[in-house]
């Protein structure tokens, strides 16, 4: 039985300011894949993720993707809303309802249940990122595009992140992650973005 790729990329190279950021890449992302994007600062990791999310339109080549969950440097949390309200809004964006119970469980899993009724704007950066992780748990999207998810995470949150990603991949999802520090996940592949080398994944 052949698996449908969640993402198929063909000779994609992102551009910014008329400049090509990296050599064209091609890859196919199957359910269960965890791919780490590696490259120096400014090599285009964020731009690649934004392109795959549909936020960046300057590129050559092509890609075909299922609806993805994207998390960039900005978390996408409204500071004036509580985590519960933010998660309800995210669910609405993805056109599905999440019941109260499930949402609370997700917040519990990520360790911010006690803040469920506080305003996100009053939380620390690390706590907000935990709320964002709860969003991933509730999302129906199979493909995750994460840009530097380790930022501002303490040790236990980093472990949590690793577990969450591992579980998602085990359930048939896929994660493409740009990170400076490697995350130890079984079966991970690396995609190197470099202006002079093209890395093609099997």
């Amino acid at each position: 039985m052949t698996l449908q790729p969640l993402l198929a990329v063909n000779a994609l190279s992102c551009e910014r300011g008329g400049r090509r950021l990296f050599s064209p890449i091609s890859l196919s992302v199957l359910p269960g894949d965890y791919i780490e994007l590696i490259g120096a600062n400014g090599s285009g990791k964020s731009t690649l993720l934004r392109t795959l999310a549909g936020l960046h339109s300057q590129f050559t080549g092509e890609y075909r993707s299922q609806d993805a969950l994207y998390q960039g440097h900005r978390l996408g949390l409204d500071g004036l809303l509580t985590p519960l309200e933010n998660l309800a809004w995210f669910a609405g964006l993805e056109d599905h309802t999440s019941d109260h119970e499930t949402t609370l469980n997700a917040l519990d899993r990520t360790g911010v249940l006690t803040m469920a009724y506080s305003l996100c704007g009053a939380m620390s950066a690390g706590q907000q990122r935990r709320v964002a992780m709860a969003r991933w748990l509730l999302s129906s999207r199979k493909l995750w595009l994460l840009d530097e998810p380790l930022t501002a995470l303490d040790a236990s949150a980093q472990d949590l992140l690793r577990d969450v990603i591992a579980e998602h991949c085990a359930k048939g999802g896929a994660v493409i992650c740009a990170t400076h520090n490697a995350i130890a996940i079984d079966g991970k592949s690396e995609l190197i973005l470099d202006a002079s080398i093209a890395e093609t994944l099997p």
Partner: protein, 223 residues
Amino acid sequence: MIRGALVREWQVLLRAKGAVINPLAFLLLTTMLFVIAAPDAITTDEASAVAPGVLWTLVLLTQLLALDSMYRRDFDSGVLEQTLVSAQVPFVTVLIRIFMQWLSTGFIMACLGPVLGVMLGLSFQALPATALALLLGTPALSLLGSVGASVTVGFNRGGVILALLVLPLFLPTLVFGADMVMAAQAGRSVMPQVYALSLISLVALALAPFATLAGLKISLEMQ
């Protein structure tokens, strides 16, 4: 999704009432400044000649002030990019945002318009027309303003550029809106201006959401 978006807009509105109150306070303040600076303009009979234009100009400037923050919060927090990535129909979200912006600014100015008009020396017979003119014209201001706001949201001090882009677009509404009030004062029919204001708002409704979405995409790519 529509329900979710509306719920969020409402929650934000309740928790950041300043976004509504501040522009209105500005409108009240500037009206007062005018009255203090030019007291003879409102105590003489010529008052009614000046008042429509002054009222509408102040309304325009208030709208400009409110526009600056129309997309800024969501842009800075990442909510905007989430919307464009995850929403099936981002267009609807834009419409909802514009509608809420109008509801919290233009609509309230339409309600307050008669009061301010009286302060500026408008004759009483023109007050219903004043409210109607503002009601018909302010949607155009929110719609067209949204286009300018969408393109300038990423700028550091985009307020001035926003004004430059958007005030020429406001001009037709200003012309017909002020004229409608003047016509009402003179006892003439206001139907031509009603048609004109409605037409402008409808044309804006047809154009502005698409242009806004395009502008937001451009601004997000600048991030």
